[in-house]
Symmetry: C2
Subunit: 261 residues, 2 copies
DNA sequence: ACTTATCTGTGTATGCTGTACACAGAAACA
DNA sequence: TGTTTCTGTGTACAGCATACACAGATAAGT
């Protein structure tokens, strides 16, 4: 790795973690770094990550494009700060007597809700990007919920990886819908666009099972979920997430119970 | 949704699915669409998604930037094709007597390996993007493995969502490492960069549990895994993935067994 | 109070991107 | 032999991230 790259990463990380002392000389900045981040987040919330440009941020804040660079050395550094701020704090835990399973469920719901509320967060690749205080807080909150199980540290971390992985991975459809909604696309139009490609499978010999599922009476694309649902007991997108989460929690619970023996 | 947007999506989808008839008049194209896609994938493999620009693709193929637009109407459409091609075919199943659990495990490993082999795939957000033949094939392959359980269609689709979610979500660390490796960054350097931010938790009162784990004798950052491992039984990144997958499969198995009653 | 160092926001400029458009030549049909 | 239609090229433009130099503002040191 070029020393250049390493230095840049260190600088980005420092911007997230280290309070920089206020400059002694010179005029005071017109706004704070927090103001710039707030403006950037507002833009991303409204018009998506593609609209988050340095000129747009500058205009929102009220000064010239280049002035933004007085607050953040690069767009990457600004986005780092946006991510950590937009992530927010993890939810407060339910209570002391709820048990780890309810707490983990609570955490997972909150994480999913956070990702759907700010769908642009999921567009940012994890490229050894600096992780800030809030990112660590979410991890800490999960570890707290699982600590009562008495699992050894490496198991706790792996449980975090499981639940985090399931939540972020399985929410991509919901996030896609959220992104579409944020841009003024109706749920029906979104479902039509997503479902259109699935329909290519129908009657295609390469996809016998998918085709059977999609044409079975229990299959079908609904507005609430592009995945097949049974007429009598349709499972919405959120219900599918819940269903999957319970399976994951079952697996974790089984391990915990076995580990206690 | 603007009719414009919808039409563009339809065009992108058509490019993935519909064989366009060869033009009758005019000169024959110098290369094929597949050649263009191959060149683009080569660039992305070598230098990441950021290096995948229209000029770069054109130069690789051997003609002018604008000629690329004779093959794909937009960069988005080109990337659609790259994604589907780069994903490749799902692995052949193990055999008729291996059982669903071994088959699903096999599928999950293959999917993870595919994502790590082409880390730039994970950088592309799922924005109601068209899904091509290979994408459907991976789904079909999974459904095949789970079909023998006799679960109803909606359960099969949800199981797919669970495993797909876990695999893609929990592989982000491994993908990040793969991306770094592809760019010539050593594993040690990568681990140092990722671990640096975790270390901020140490002795910070906001992260008591994380701090305790990181400073415990079983904690520590190793080259193979930025997550804590126990000295006696270190769990590498891949082992953590396996461990988590087995928990997920346990949860699924429990449901299947209960459903059979 | 005056100098001087230093910081802020601005203006200008550069190289890169995706892509629109018009054109010249080539290939097949009439 | 036109005529049509498609391919690859050249030119052009708007928008992006960002480098650089500058003017004015500010506060520390004298």
């Amino acid at each position: 790795m070029a020393a250049d790259t390493r230095e840049k990463l260190r600088e980005r990380s420092a911007l997230l973690w280290d309070e920089q002392p206020r400059a002694a000389r010179g005029p005071k900045p017109a706004v704070t770094r927090e103001d710039v981040v707030r403006a950037a987040i507002t833009i991303a919330d409204a018009d998506g990550l593609a609209a988050l440009t340095m000129p747009a941020v500058a205009e929102k804040v009220g000064f010239t494009t280049m002035a933004t660079y007085r607050y953040f050395p690069s767009k990457e550094a600004l986005i780092d700060a946006c991510v950590d701020t937009a992530m927010g704090s993890p939810p407060p835990r339910l209570g002391p007597h709820e048990g780890w399973r309810a707490e983990v469920r609570h955490w997972a719901y909150a994480k999913r809700a956070m990702l759907c509320a700010r769908p642009w967060l999921a567009e940012l690749p994890f490229v050894a990007a600096p992780h800030g205080p809030n990112w660590l807080s979410w991890h800490e909150a999960f570890l707290w919920t699982i600590a009562e199980t008495g699992l050894p540290p490496e198991d706790m971390m792996d449980m975090l990886s499981i639940v985090h992985g399931y939540v972020s991975g399985s929410s991509d459809t919901a996030i896609s819908l959220a992104r579409a909604t944020a841009r003024g696309i109706s749920t029906e139009e979104w479902a039509e666009a997503v479902g259109a490609d699935l329909c290519h499978a129908i009657n295609d010999p390469r996809y016998p099972i998918l085709s059977a599922i999609l044409t079975s009476k229990s299959g079908g694309i609904t507005a609430a979920s592009p995945l097949p649902t049974r007429a009598g007991r349709p499972r919405t997108m959120d219900e599918s997430f819940d269903f999957g989460l319970e399976r994951v929690l079952d697996g974790i619970e089984l391990y915990i119970n076995n580990a206690r023996l």
